[in-house]
Symmetry: C2
Subunit: 291 residues, 2 copies
């Protein structure tokens, strides 16, 4: 029996090529013909990553948009996607959503594979893009003295999932139809010292950026913009699925797109993450680990 984290650690041991920047939580960046190709692959499983009763058009949207969000964080222009699709219920709704999201982003479907099989439905998507700026932004470039920025509010997907579960007609769009901030990523790529998308929760993703960069990041929790009621701020800092871009800029630099200063980068203090100047209690949950 291998645990998921042991499996991932072993996979990382196999992924020693310089293009493999990180498995499971970062894109690969491959030089080819003078271009930098950016590659990402995500897999979704029914009951784990989407609700069995969820509209498959929304699942298709999310599958594509979240992979494009990974490209956005690299400042990459999408070249296309490859789909791996296990047939399930409501495949025609999946097609509807796939058509919508590809058209929305102007991204071609380049290929893929369709398979049968009983049991929970699984699907995978590979997105590839061309870097618009080199060096390609990474999560490892944050430096002491930088400020930490966020393109928009968190907590919207949390509220959206609750609305979807309640079925009461509340606005679930932020959960069902996340947006990939491609244009923002392109504008930011030449200026950031580090960048990533917030997929697993602001605190968790910021701590990953800090670890990758060998620094400590101090989050100013009151400065984080919310798409949920103020009393849920602490939850919203830990909730994922909002797909805002999180980036660092040198001290006084202003971002070229609307964004909120939400923290600062310090020399390594031991802890990767501080919230309002203090480390979190050991074992405190930061967000969604390995969903």
């Amino acid at each position: 029996m291998t645990t998921e984290s042991a499996f991932i650690a072993a996979l990382r041991g196999l992924a020693t090529h310089p293009a493999a920047r990180g498995l499971d939580d970062d894109c690969a960046v491959l030089d080819i013909g003078g271009e930098a190709l950016v590659l990402t692959h995500d897999m979704l499983v029914e009951g784990v990553h989407f609700l069995p009763e969820q509209d498959r058009a929304d699942v298709a949207w999310k599958l594509v948009a979240t992979n494009l969000s990974d490209l956005a964080a690299k400042g990459a222009e999408p070249l296309g996607v490859l789909l791996g699709y296990q047939l399930g219920q409501d495949d025609s709704r999946f097609l509807d959503g796939l058509h919508e999201v590809l058209e929305h982003y102007g991204v071609p479907l380049l290929g893929g594979d369709t398979v049968g099989g009983a049991g929970p439905q699984a699907m995978g998507l590979t997105a590839l893009g061309r870097a618009t700026h080199r060096p390609v932004p990474s999560r490892s470039g944050a430096r002491a003295g930088d400020r930490l920025w966020l393109t928009g509010p968190v907590g919207g997907a949390m509220i959206g999932l609750e609305a979807l579960r309640a079925g009461a007609g509340g606005d679930s769009m932020a959960y069902r139809r996340p947006m990939a901030l491609l244009a923002q990523g392109w504008a930011l790529a030449p200026q950031v010292t580090a960048m990533m998308d917030v997929s697993d929760g602001l605190l968790l993703d910021a701590s990953r950026m800090a670890r990758a960069s060998g620094v400590t990041i101090d989050i100013d929790s009151a400065a984080v913009p919310l798409a949920c009621p103020e009393q849920r701020r602490q939850e919203a800092l830990r909730w994922g699925d909002d797909y805002q871009l999180l980036f660092t800029l040198p001290g006084n630099a202003q971002p070229p797109v609307p964004a909120h200063a939400v923290g600062r980068v310090l020399p390594d203090q031991g802890a990767a993450l501080l919230v309002d100047g203090a480390p979190l209690p050991a074992g405190a949950a930061l967000g969604f680990e390995h969903r």
Copy 2:
């Protein structure tokens, strides 16, 4: 309810980009930075594409080797793979096989995603390569007057699967550890008029080549080399999983690698496929459709 073939037809309707040469049965070929990038994605589901009790090291091998075989048929040099992996039983054996196959072919693991989930295990692999010759060989270039060639015998995977199921110690390697004929593909790419790998059965794949090329292909069934007893020739022509390269060359040209002349290309006779000069009865099975 959407049938698998209707779903694939609808997906093809979405895959209108010129790089999307065919969905589910061909690679995408994308121009970038003066290079032609070749992309393929396959998905495997437990109970459909591999036996639940099958050694996961063999499953890993097959997942990678069959995708590399798609690259071989394009004369492409592999640049790397991305893995989508749902944790299941015996993940450490999967890692062993993955390590073996990547090392055997000298191909890097560039990235991927690991997910949880109950039910039959699903996994996907995206392989990308760089074309070594342009134009990149396709299945649509066969011309009347060409001869049809095959790099080696068929029927080995059929015998191998039987040996594996019988568990009697017979040689199951051809089924468990198919080879991607990369060097042969590189040598052939500059000379072939059409090329593909035989994954779903010689007759079925030859008929696909004929349809894509707008010609009729006449198979000389006695000339097809076998890796099984002679009395099983008819089955072997329809069995898949052997991953030989099937290609066409102008009339008198000799291939640069060992190969067997197994048929000829005729002007379109109505039927895509003839066997020994005669069309097959309507509805006759040619091989594995959409496994």
